[in-house]
Symmetry: C2
Subunit: 439 residues, 2 copies
């Protein structure tokens, strides 16, 4: 084992800068834990002319591919993002026998099959703890700690931007545009926030967690994805009246060997720890047949927290030269089969439905008739006072039913004129285990 | 790498039985994750005559030491507990080149230096995830995931029995004996509950976490330990009025290179996730200079949850034959130095004090004078109505001060007759980071 571990870093944005900072700040402790110096030989950046604050002796280049070809570099750390140059860089580095550490969830979700297969073929380590839920060690937990479990469900708050927006709406009564603006002002949301608020970012992470939990390849393009864009504060308020928070949830469950998965806004009961995840934090709740329920909570993004996860992977590589890549990367010995997919709308859960109706005699009877016709029964119902234009909001909480049934019933009611606008429908998160707060 | 991993199991109580069960139930998934059959050759039990439900072909013995001497056995799993036979078994197994997995927190806390040194010398793996916080992967998280951090604090609810008792007192208004009885009826507490309610069990776990967080050996006999025996329901009730729960906390902090550590009942503000840990659950909150705050929550004991942690260790051993024991075991390359210890009473935090005084003129002035004299200032104060014998309870919430100052001030007030009984004093847990609930 050579004394130094020589790395090439692609990308010097928020996370790359955090990594450089923490490697310097925690130098002595890292040395105590690995016995090796971890040195950055070269950093690849887009704009080489820009002034950078780097340790002495670090080379700068604007040719990311040169990291993959440099024989001195043992590990390429890819923190540039995107799925074009980053993909080419990672594949090339692995073909040249180098280990790779990446935070690139989009790349691994969309091109994971190709990348994991090459890592196994070349017997190189692929570290990607930073690609899911930031500083939370969920990759390692699923791959290693819970390896003796049959995992039954993984659910989480996997996007800090959306969670910040939902927290602002919930805590401060903001409407969606105001909360989004607040997130942008805080630096939590991009100028174009689509990837975050429309659920794709959470879905990328969920795809990675499914691979680790069940050893299957879930085609990302088949994931059911709904975001929180335009969420009505009315629903936040009604949910609270029933004791719930609305959260953007990524969830995957094993239903008799089929995987049901999706990203969607859902009502989470306040007694669940997931309901208590505030601001830009992320959290993951895993259920397994041995572990019961395990809940992990931490910062989902940011310079230092993401660097913490990158460092964990780097130190694991520094600590052992020998790689058995199948285990080190996916946690499974063989190439992964395709997941058998159970469409999200065919699984059952309780649902929340808000309907806007004319405040007239017989409306409730009409709704009850159609719901009964679709096999849906009510658990609770509240009717809010009529607004000035004689419309009222009805909130219906159902017993277990399918998304298909809910959507069909509410569409029928809209089409026959009972509902004045299309209904708003959210799942109510169901979880076994006892996390109830000591109220 | 041989196809089978052959283990010897010492102890077939709650955890041992859970391990046997999960190895059978999850056989196919374990094989997919390791490529190896994990087979139990021999189980050592105390009473060999008792009927056992074991897979065909498993040998029974009442000679635990024979596991350490059997050349077929590659890993000894020690789930018998105690610090005499278990210690001898583990040391002998390691001397014979075998890896060891254990859930024995008392043994590792009290004899850790000897055991870790031998593991390093013999280059064998020592897995002990199950020894701290049950199913929560806190060992792996500190050793591996957070290895690139400087850890600033570790605090947790590390004993499920005490937490169950405190939850029952908080949620149901039980007094201590009733809540203890309830815990015993549920099987959470032993007939002699001392190890749990007096804090030793939590302290054993804390000693292990200190080793992993800072790479130091903290002499267990020097740990400050207070339990919850005889806790007065009055304090639970007053704490609630200020927005706090009382929890039995194990805490260790790095104060400029010195380690301040102890187990004590403390007031935890309801906005912290630690306050939401209910029943027999455990939780650990770790702060590091990169990760920020990370919170892990899961079952702290029980057959299957503890077996989940044992299995994680076993599978890690099955996945790699080569061991670099320093890393695999403590996460540090060199032998660990002794911790520099900062006595718990010399560190600062806010304090809660309940004083019982005669309801007469001047009492408050006398208390304020003595507190000021000891450099303590008040944040809040409430006085409860006089009881029938003319006593009143005063609750004082202080600003940051030391345990030494609080104890000195309250002792002076008792000795001079101002307090009718010795004061009850608890720390108020201070945590950085923002975990606040979305109220």
């Amino acid at each position: 084992m050579s004394q130094n571990l020589c790395i090439g870093l692609a990308g010097l944005g928020t996370v790359g800068s955090g990594l450089v900072e923490m490697l310097q700040k925690n130098h002595d402790e890292i040395l105590r834990r690995t016995g090796r110096e971890i040195t950055i030989k070269t950093v690849a950046v887009h704009n080489i002319a820009k002034k950078r604050d780097l340790p002495a002796g670090v080379h700068l280049t604007d040719d990311a591919m040169s990291l993959a070809d440099d024989p001195d570099i043992q590990v390429v750390v890819e923190l540039m993002g995107g799925t074009t140059v980053a993909r080419e860089l990672i594949l090339r580095a692995m073909r040249n026998g180098k280990s790779v550490v990446t935070a690139n969830k989009a790349l691994l979700a969309e091109y994971g099959r190709e990348i994991f297969a090459l890592a196994a073929e070349k017997n190189v380590a692929l570290g990607y703890e930073a690609s899911s839920a930031g500083a939370i060690p969920v990759i390692q937990t699923l791959r290693d700690s819970l390896a003796g479990n049959h995992i039954t469900s993984v659910m989480g708050i996997l996007n800090g931007t959306s969670n910040y927006i939902l927290s602002e709406m919930n805590n401060n009564g903001f409407d969606f545009p105001t909360a989004l603006k607040a997130a942008q002002d805080m630096g939590y949301a991009e100028a174009d926030p689509s990837l975050d608020i429309d659920g794709q970012d959470a879905a990328h992470k969920l795809a990675l967690l499914i691979r680790l939990a069940w050893g299957v390849h879930y085609d990302f393009s088949k994931l059911s994805i709904e975001g929180i864009r335009g969420l009505d504060p009315l629903d936040i308020q009604f949910a609270r009246e029933f004791g719930y928070r609305i959260k953007l949830i990524g969830q995957a469950r094993d239903e008799n060997g089929k995987i049901e998965a999706g990203v969607f806004p859902a009502l989470v009961h306040h007694s669940m720890l997931l309901a208590r995840v505030n601001g830009a934090y992320n959290a993951v709740r895993i259920e397994g047949n041995a572990v019961g329920s395990l809940f992990l909570h931490g910062l989902g993004a940011g310079s230092r927290p993401t660097a913490s996860a990158v460092l964990g992977d780097l130190l694991a590589i520094a600590r052992r030269d020998e790689v058995n890549s199948a285990e080190a990367n996916t946690g499974f010995i063989d190439a992964l089969p395709d997941a058998e997919i159970l469409p999200s709308d065919e699984t059952i859960s309780p649902w929340y439905t808000r309907a806007t109706v004319r405040d007239t005699y017989g409306v409730l009877r009409d709704i009850a008739t159609v719901f009964a016709d679709e096999g849906i029964s009510f658990a609770q119902l509240i009717q809010k006072a009529a607004s000035q234009d004689d419309c009222v909001s009805l909130v219906l909480m159902t017993h277990d039913t399918t998304g298909t049934a809910i959507k069909k019933a509410t569409r029928r009611l809209y089409e026959d004129g009972t509902l004045l606008v299309p209904a708003t429908c959210f799942r109510i998160l169901a979880a076994s285990g006892n996390e109830a707060e000591g109220v």
